[in-house]
Amino acid sequence: MRREIPLIITTIAGLVFAISYFIPHMPFGEAETIFGDWVTIVQAFAIWLGVLNLLRVTGEKIHRKRPGWTYAAIVIVTMVGTIAIGIYEGFAGMNATPPSSYRDAGTTFDWIFQYLYDPLSSTMFAMLAFYISSAAYRAFRARNLEATMLLIAAFFMMGGRVPLLDQLISPFTDTLVFSKLSSWIMNFPVAGGQRAIAIGIALGIMSSSLRVILGIERSHIGGGE
């Protein structure tokens, strides 16, 4: 039973979405709408599952005084603080006239977004700029024909998408040769190459989806034949 029920659920959910594309008639169109609602709800629960999981893992870390438990404490304090403030302000705004959102400017929750979440997440990704530069210097080599072609294409793209190479040749000509060239590369060879990749991926997704719906692929329920 532990294996059969999930398999049946998978198949039914998959079939409803696949069939309703072709048969919008009762009951498929309606079932699709209802299932769509369910997906959004389950995903919201999954986020809360993550919160509870994080609480459990970090709580255990603090309890056992494992290395780095002080940082775990900071995680818990900021997380619980953010949630408490957000939920309080959300309900307060709901009952206010006119109603306002927890997300509106001027709320403490918006302050957290603007001055904690935003700079921290932006910075995390901005660090990649440094790593790309150092990799460009230390690792990216034209070690074979393929890599060389890749680097050359990348060169024209980096120099052509911003007015860089065009600035260099500006004393000689006014036409933006490299800007046009990079646009051309994107619109023709790249569009073609991406299209080949997209067709391949679409077929791959189709076959793996089919395997999931038919119950041939079972790794999401713990694998095994």
Binding site: Y21, F22, I23, P24, H25, M26, G29, M124, F125, L128, Y131, I132, S134, A135, R138, A139, F140, R141, A142, R143, E146, A147, L150, L151, A154, Q194, I197, I199, G200, I201, L203, G204, M206, S207, S208, L210, R211, L214, I216, E217, S219, H220, G223
Partner: protein
């Protein structure tokens, strides 16, 4: 859509029905009007002041649901007003009004004189719609009788998607067929994949240098196809490793992947006849957190200086960080990922890269698992269909547009009607 003859038949039938309906409606309206006239009831003309010229409204308005659609279209037909004449007509235009769920009439279209049909494509299932049409003169407007309320229906088959359904079925059936064939033990051919021979050389090199091998199976869990392919390739790498008796280390970012990796390594050592050399230390779980995992792996690289690094699985931003560090310790690097965004980093920083689907092909090739082999074959069939269609389509398009060859245009139209699902 799939065959023009079929469509013609259908259209013919619908038109016949429509014609019957219209005739019936004309009769009905005639009788109805007679009745009205007999009762000399108040009709619209009484509202109109004597100063403006009266116009006859259109008659016999029939609204029908459009067939084979997703309840998004209603078709209207009517008999034009008797004042709608070709020459010197007082009637300028018709206006179509819609009443949704017995609300007020809303003007939805203005049609030129002479029109006798209209399709409202702005309707929803679950609502009742009725319509009336007015004859519009220079200074007056006269409404027809409202049609019976009708609700658009969702049909059993969205007819213009039939070719899509067929192609999906062909590929779907092919995939399941090939999986079944492979299961029964039939050998399915898969071409040699360039990066694979490099594996043996790379392992040999590590043995010569007396340094370990590092294998990273991506940062996703076992429910990801890329990870599964990575672990499969790990099995093959480990068989060579066991033969050469080299040291291998497989840090993972998911605990489930660690379990799977340990199983795989163990089996490989048994197959190679060296079960005694296996130990659980070969694979360890580090952390789920993306950058935390990268920091730890980079630490391992700097300390142990592996001779060879394998990156096989699903990678995101960490591809760059791992490959750069591996490069700086002078390792030979072999990578494979299906994420198109990360392939460039691997191509320029690694010695060998399995590009996109090659990762899955390599995994199917090495494991000869029916599930993987069959899917690959089915997908190949899909590619063959796409290739054939594109080749014929391009030739036909060129022939018809550059040399105006008629039958080539027909071929192109047929192909487009199959593949364009809009």
């Amino acid at each position: 859509m799939v065959s023009t003859a079929n469509q013609g038949d259908r259209r013919c039938a619908t038109n016949l029905i429509r014609l019957l309906l219209v005739t019936f409606a004309v009769l009905l309206t005639f009788l109805h009007n007679r009745a009205l006239a007999d009762n000399s009831a108040v009709d619209t003309s009484s509202v109109v002041s004597a100063s403006i010229t009266p116009l006859a409204p259109p008659t016999s308005l029939v609204v029908s649901d459009h067939v084979y659609d997703n309840a998004e279209r209603l078709d209207l037909v009517w008999v034009p007003s008797i004042d709608d004449k070709l020459i010197a007509s007082k009637l300028i235009e018709y206006r179509v009004y819609r009443i949704t769920d017995s609300g007020d009439g809303q003007r939805i279209a203005v049609l030129p004189a002479g029109a006798n049909s209209f399709s409202d494509e702005n309707v929803e299932s679950g609502h009742q719609y009725s319509y009336y049409i007015t004859s519009v003169g220079a200074d007056s407007e006269f409404p027809s009788i409202s049609s019976e309320p009708i609700e658009p229906e969702r049909e059993w088959l969205n007819y213009h998607l039939i070719s899509l359904l067929l192609i999906c079925m062909i590929i779907g059936v092919a995939i399941t067929y090939f999986i079944e064939t492979a299961r029964r033990g039939k050998k399915l051919f898969i071409r040699r994949i360039a990066g694979l021979e490099a594996i043996d050389d790379a392992v040999g090199r590590a043995t010569e240098m007396g340094r370990p091998i590092l294998f990273i199976p991506g940062i996703q869990d076992m429910d990801d196809v890329g990870t599964v392919a990575g672990v499969t390739i790990l099995g093959r790498v480990c068989r060579v490793v066991a033969e050469f008796d080299t040291k291998i280390s497989v840090p993972t970012s998911r605990s489930l992947v660690m379990t799977a990796a340990r199983e795989t390594i163990k089996t490989a050592y048994q197959t190679a006849g060296r079960p005694d050399k296996y130990s659980d230390d070969m694979s360890n779980y580090i952390t789920d957190e993306q950058f935390g995992y990268v920091a730890a792996v980079n630490g391992i690289m700097v300390r142990e200086k592996p001779a060879t690094c394998f990156y096989m699985g699903t990678f995101y931003a960490e591809s760059l960080l791992l490959a750069e560090t591996g490069n700086s310790v002078g390792a030979i690097q072999i990578a494979g990922t299906s994420n198109p965004m990360q392939i460039p980093f691997f191509v320029v920083a690694c010695d060998f890269t399995l590009i996109g689907e090659e990762l899955f092909a390599a995994s199917a090739y090495l494991s000869s698992e029916p599930k993987q082999l069959g899917s690959l074959k089915g997908q190949d069939l899909g590619k063959a269909i796409a290739l054939t269609a594109i080749t014929i389509g391009v030739i036909a398009a060129t022939g018809s547009s550059a040399w105006h060859i008629g039958w080539m245009q027909d071929i192109l139209n047929a192909l487009e009607s199959i593949f364009l699902t809009r």
